[in-house]
Amino acid sequence: MTEVVLDDVHVRHGEREVLHGVSLRLTERRVAVIGANGSGKSTLARLLNGLIVPTSGRVLVDGLDTRRRGREVRRRVGFVFTDPDAQIIMPTVAEDVAYSLRRSGLSRAAVAARVAAELDRHGLADHADHPAHLLSGGQKQLLALTSVLVTAPRLVVADEPTTLLDLRNTRAVADRLAALDQHVVLVTHDLDLVSGFDRVLVVDGGRVVVDDVPAAAVPAYRRLMA
């Protein structure tokens, strides 16, 4: 089990305070974060793997403080971004997945085997040696997800991973996320995706204003935005 604790977290960017004192304990396997643009959702997501550290307060992942133990935290927490073009680092598909394993201590052959298996699992095996830019948007996001999963993180945080995708690819990415054994924190605007989740956080104006099961949180969010 993975436990994420936020303890009175404030995040300030210059003059502007983006999060005003968020305290949470997340242990559920599926947690969704919804909220308006600029509400602080993405900042909340980035706190979980130490990409952003709190201005005050602290974030603990399995007891590891993201401020001091960022490296170990990032090894546990995989992060999927909205725009896969920004996340794909290497020119070809297999190389990008292999990049995630560069410090795994595995031999070159073992890395190649692991990469091939992971690409196969996500339906990208035929594209292994293709340049990443020739993939469709949906395939790129699946590649980004594959490159995260190949390191076997305990928690996958996804920041609006389907915002740029069409319906079919949204389903494909959502299905992959749903099928994971890992814990998932999904930030999304797609309210259909959160119905099967254990817990939904509604973020508004830098605070968590609703924290409930989807059947209660989603209607509350709709009322809030009306």
Binding site: A86, Q87, I89, M90, P91, T92, D129
Partner: protein
């Protein structure tokens, strides 16, 4: 697969270095002509036609007239032609290497070549990563330029250079920020 395609990436890169240095020494019209014939010969050996040559040197089509004009004025017509021919031959030769070698093999060869410099403090892995990112960024920025151009067209501002350059630079910087964040998320500095 032509003999040029089959040649190892390291060999091709080394040959490119040697040829570039040799081209620097060329000062006569005869030498420049010989270089052009040599490069075209290599394209033929790689079974690549005139179209492939053109696609490699096409990006120079605005640059070359400017270079010729400046050199014509400062060095005279003969030197201008020799220097420019050298430049075009060199770009075509480098293009031949990239057109016949997978990027991953080129990067692996570079990482091997840079390996010994580790002793003087160079991080070969980091250097190869920078090159990989540069290769990766070309299609991303091309797509960005296409998007900006479309947006410009939609608003009827096709010929406004600033309306093209400003969003392109801003977009490129945002992309760079996002890439930096992704590198950190994937444990680059850990």
């Amino acid at each position: 697969m032509s003999p040029v395609h089959r040649l190892g990436a390291g060999t091709k890169l080394a040959a490119l270095c040697v040829c570039s240095l040799a081209l620097l020494a060329v000062r006569s019209p005869v030498g420049a002509g010989a270089a052009v014939v040599g490069v075209l010969g290599l394209y033929a050996l790689a079974r690549l036609g005139p179209r492939a040559v053109w696609s490699q040197v096409r990006p120079l089509r605005w640059f070359v007239p400017c270079v010729v004009a400046v050199q014509w004025a400062t060095l005279g017509p003969l030197a201008a032609c020799v220097l420019t021919t050298r430049l075009v031959a060199l770009v075509a030769l480098a293009g031949l290497v990239t057109a016949t070698t997978p990027t991953s093999l080129l990067l692996a060869a570079l990482e091997r070549a840079l390996g010994p410099l580790r002793r003087v403090g160079l991080d070969a892995e980091r250097a190869a990563l920078v090159l990989a990112l540069a290769v990766r960024s070309v299609p991303v920025l091309t797509a960005l330029a296409g998007t900006v151009r479309d947006a410009q067209r939609a608003r009827g501002r096709e010929h406004d250079v600033r309306a093209f350059a400003v969003p392109l630079v801003v977009g490129a910087l945002r992309q760079a920020d996002a890439l930096g964040e992704a590198l950190r998320a994937r444990g680059l500095d850990d």
